[in-house]
Structures are given as structure tokens and as C-alpha cells.
């Protein structure tokens, strides 16, 4: 595979994270929730980081979220992003608790964002992967 393309950055699938990416491809953002202590988390892992139980279930997120922080890249660390700078990468917290790395899309000025502002899920497909991105709510 051409290592300069966005496709080359597609996440490596394994038994634990495949349901996460498969759900996104079907238009649903899911997270893991512990059946023992009810802790909710992302990214996918095999045991609950709260109580260490391996008894957990996938749940669908509402899509409501808030912006914890964001950065604006002015240099590209990878060929696939050279035409895209400046672009943002954000830490987003879902209403259900889990946090994830994402992008805030549909904005003109990357510096106009405000911490803790409400966001809404928008799944976009890029490089053959359905990605959980967010727009201003």
C-alpha cells in the first residue's frame, strides 16, 4: 500500500476493536460499558479499566458531546495531510463519558472554537473508514 495515502493510516483491526469500526460503518458510534461497575470507556480494550472485569457490552452513543480541547496543525507530519493544513484535531467527550480523538468539521475558523462547547456526531467516510467526527451542536 502507498504509505503516503490516508488509506495507509486506516486502523488495524483486531478482535476487540472490530465491532467499534463495524458499527461506525453502519452509522452508529458505540462505546464499551462495564456490566459490573457501569464504567463507560473508549478506545476499545478487553477489560474494564475501572474494576478490571471482562464482563462488558457495547452501547450506542447518543452523539451528543462536548469539546475538551483542540489543536490546529500548521505543519503536516504525513503526506496525506500536506494539502489539508491548517486542520484541527480535538479531544471530544461523549455525553456518556468516554473521550476520543476526533476532528471538528464544518467550521471556517479553527481558532474560533471554545472549550466545553457542545458538539454533535457526524460520521464521515474517509480512506475507506467511517470516522466519528463532530460539528457544532
Amino acid at each position: 500500500m502507498d504509505e503516503h495515502t490516508i488509506e495507509s493510516l486506516a486502523p488495524e483491526r483486531d478482535a476487540i476493536n472490530s465491532p467499534y469500526w463495524d458499527s461506525l460503518a453502519q452509522g452508529r458510534l458505540t462505546y464499551q460499558c462495564c456490566n459490573a461497575c457501569h464504567k463507560a470507556w473508549l478506545p476499545p480494550r478487553s477489560e474494564c479499566p475501572g474494576c478490571l472485569s471482562d464482563d462488558w457490552a457495547w452501547k450506542e452513543a447518543s452523539g451528543q458531546a462536548k469539546l475538551i480541547s483542540w489543536v490546529v496543525y500548521h505543519i503536516a507530519y504525513h503526506k496525506a495531510f500536506e494539502h489539508r493544513v491548517p486542520y484541527n484535531v480535538a479531544v471530544v467527550e461523549l455525553a456518556e463519558g468516554p473521550r476520543l480523538i476526533s476532528n471538528v468539521v464544518g467550521i471556517e475558523d479553527h481558532e474560533s472554537l471554545v472549550i466545553d462547547q457542545p458538539l454533535q456526531l457526524r460520521i464521515e467516510t474517509e480512506g475507506g473508514v467511517a470516522l466519528p467526527r463532530f460539528v457544532l451542536a
Binding site: 488495524e12 490546529v72 496543525y73 500548521h74 507530519y77 504525513h78 484535531v89
Partner: protein
């Protein structure tokens, strides 16, 4: 443990581009100088604590170095906490000496990312790279942005840290970057990962540093006049990745400092000079808060007005830090602390009796603290 252990010797190579030198060679040069400074023969060394070169991970690196040194230590190895490793290993060596596991220990670090391999920096990107999430500067930028949003910290306040470190480094003949920086120049420095600019980011450097550690009693028996007592040490591990960290603007640096200050029986008010790990400007700003030099959220205000420059209330990074002396991850901060406590620093803080040192690794994942007293 206060004053039971001393740093008896220090050594370093030149900093910058040292083409053709392996990390083993750099380590040996720094260790040879540290041993000479302490008046110790290599055969007396029975503890060898090494930070694996950041630029290239190698299995059993501690044993490769021991072989290159021609020694057979009783205890030691490689400690993996990124930049926090150095101060942490000094603490581990202190505990090992106190527990009778060794008597004279070397702590050493060498790296050659400037001219040698950059293997570790060319690693495969993580799962989030498809979002464009790359590189260490962006991790610190993510924390800095949150700090700005929560506390009103400004770019100029981050700039004040870069200006102070560059001012001190410009006066240090051994510094890699001896070009002072004005706040105006800082404002024009290009954005890397906003809000961080080029001048918020540390240097990339080849080099090595080493220290020799022994008990205070042994140093007295050997009539060492330049032995610097360790008053306190501590560690803390924030551990979680930036995206999963529940609170981006507090770290385990608080725990690390608490442990060290408690051991020393001191408070931040008792500290005369500090060497605070400055891989990115936001790091020392938040360390000042975590250590209690100022209230939480007030780090930005604290660093303004020359307070952290020579002649100020709390001079920091008096040899230039990672922003100006060398980007090597951490042990140089300990060496400068020792020089300040010996009264031999280039930018000597007059009458300084105590020095606080912070080391940290990853994106504030790990932290360690040392508090030194006068020789």
C-alpha cells in the same frame, strides 16, 4: 532520607550535532568525566542506572554499557519513563544504596537523534493518525489549549518562558542554541501545532550526561568537598493518554513534588532556584503550579515580569534548559542543579541554598522531582 545521599560527580559531553558518535561512546565520555569529578575509579562502581536512548530502543542496553565500561555492577538496568527516567533513577539509586544493594552508582543518559538514528521518532503512527493526530508537540498543545481556556493563560505567557530560557542559554558557552529571543520574535515564530509555536518546542540534540551517587557518609570519608546533598526526591505517574486523561491541566507532578518536599522538610518558599523540564513551554508553567510555587491556574501570571529570570524571585533553567542548552531529555537539569549548589554555575544565583529539579516524560505521563542542598 534527607541528606543521606549525595551527588558526588557530574560529567557531560558537548551538546548539539556530534556526528559519528554512538550512544555508548557518548555515555562513556560523560561517565569518564563524572568519575573524574567524583574521584572514583570505575572498579568501585557497583550500580549502573541508564536511560535507554530516546532515539533508538535497544534490548539489554544497560548490559551493553556495562560491558563497554568494563564493569560488573551489582544492580542497575534501563528505566523506561521517558524524560522522567533520570531523576527517577537517582531516587532508585539512593534507595538501593540505603538498602545496601550498592555503594557507588552511576546514572547516565546518551542520545543522538540529531545526527544518528531517529528510529524512535519514525515509529508507526497510532490508531488516531487517520484523524491527523501526530507528534509530541500536538499533545502538549492540546494541554496548553485547555489551560488557556480554563485559566486565561496567554501565548505571551508561554513566550515569557521561552524568552527566559533562551536568555540564560545565550550566556552559557556550552549551550547548543546561544541566540536570545525577544517576545516580539516569539510572537512571529511559526505555528507548529497551535497554540504552540516553534519557539515553544525544545531542541533536537546529540549528547550525554552522567552523575555519580553515593552515601553522604562515604563522601565525607573520601573528603569530597563538592558533594551535593539530595534533600528530597519523589515520583508521580499521570499515565493515561492525553485523550483519556480525566483532567488535562493537573498531573501527577503534584504527587511527585509532595513526596520530595515532605522528605526535604521544605516548602516551595524555601527554594532559591529551579530547573524545570521544558520540552515545551507549557510544561514548566504547569510544573510551577503543581509544585505550589503559585496557585493552580496562575502559572501564566507567575512567569511574567522577569520573575523566572536571573535576578528574579525564582530563576529557572539557569543553563538554558531543553529550549536552549540541549534538547537531551533531562539529566542536564540535574547537572545544572549541582553546579548551582556548588556555586559554580555560569549564571550563578547568588547565595542559592536549595534547588528544585523536575524531570518528566511522554506527554506529562511521568514525573520525578529532586531537591538539592548546598555542597
Amino acid at each position: 532520607m534527607r541528606e543521606k545521599i549525595v551527588i558526588a560527580g557530574i560529567g557531560q559531553t558537548a551538546f548539539g550535532k556530534l556526528a559519528g558518535r554512538s550512544t555508548l561512546s557518548l555515555n562513556i565520555e560523560a561517565i569518564r568525566m563524572a568519575l573524574a569529578d567524583a574521584g572514583v575509579d570505575k572498579a568501585e562502581v557497583d550500580g549502573l542506572f541508564v536511560k535507554c536512548p530516546t532515539s533508538k530502543f535497544e534490548m539489554m542496553y544497560g548490559q551493553k554499557l556495562a560491558e563497554s565500561l568494563g564493569i560488573v555492577p551489582r544492580i542497575g538496568g534501563v528505566w523506561d519513563q521517558g524524560g522522567a527516567s533520570n531523576a527517577s533513577m537517582i531516587g532508585h539509586a539512593a534507595m538501593a544504596i540505603e538498602a545496601g544493594q550498592c555503594e557507588i552508582a552511576i546514572i547516565a543518559l546518551a542520545d543522538n537523534p540529531a545526527t544518528g538514528t531517529r528510529q524512535a521518532y519514525e515509529k508507526a503512527w497510532g490508531e488516531d493518525s487517520i484523524f491527523g493526530w501526530f507528534g509530541t508537540p500536538a499533545g502538549y498543545a492540546m494541554i496548553a489549549r485547555r489551560h488557556m481556556g480554563e485559566h486565561g493563560t496567554t501565548s505571551d505567557q508561554l513566550g515569557a518562558i521561552a524568552v527566559a530560557c533562551r536568555k540564560h542559554g545565550a550566556l552559557n558557552p556550552k549551550a547548543q542554541l546561544r541566540k536570545p529571543l525577544t517576545l516580539e520574535q516569539y510572537r512571529e515564530s511559526r505555528l507548529i501545532a497551535a497554540p504552540l509555536r516553534r519557539d515553544d518546542c525544545c531542541l533536537v540534540s546529540d549528547g550525554a550526561a552522567a552523575v555519580v551517587v553515593m552515601s553522604a557518609q562515604r563522601a565525607r570519608q573520601r573528603h569530597l568537598k563538592q558533594a551535593v546533598p539530595i534533600l528530597g526526591f519523589g515520583q508521580g505517574q499521570t499515565s493515561w493518554e492525553v485523550a483519556q486523561r480525566a483532567d488535562l491541566t493537573t498531573t501527577a507532578a503534584e504527587q511527585s513534588a509532595h513526596t520530595a518536599f515532605k522528605m526535604a522538610g521544605l516548602t516551595p518558599k524555601d527554594i532559591d532556584v529551579a530547573q524545570l523540564y521544558d520540552c515545551f513551554t507549557i510544561a514548566p508553567l504547569m510544573t510551577l503550579e503543581a509544585y505550589g510555587f503559585c496557585p493552580r491556574g496562575k502559572g501564566g501570571q507567575f512567569v511574567q515580569g522577569g520573575r523566572i529570570e536571573i535576578g528574579g524571585e525564582l530563576p529557572i533553567n539557569t543553563s538554558g534548559g531543553l529550549l536552549s542548552e540541549t534538547g537531551m531529555p533531562g539529566l542536564q537539569m540535574v547537572l545544572e542543579g549541582v553546579r548551582q549548589m556548588r556555586g559554580q554555575a555560569v549564571n550563578q544565583v547568588k547565595g542559592a541554598r536549595t534547588c528544585a529539579i523536575s524531570n518528566q516524560g511522554g506527554i506529562m505521563h511521568t514525573h520525578s522531582t529532586l531537591i538539592l542542598g548546598q555542597a
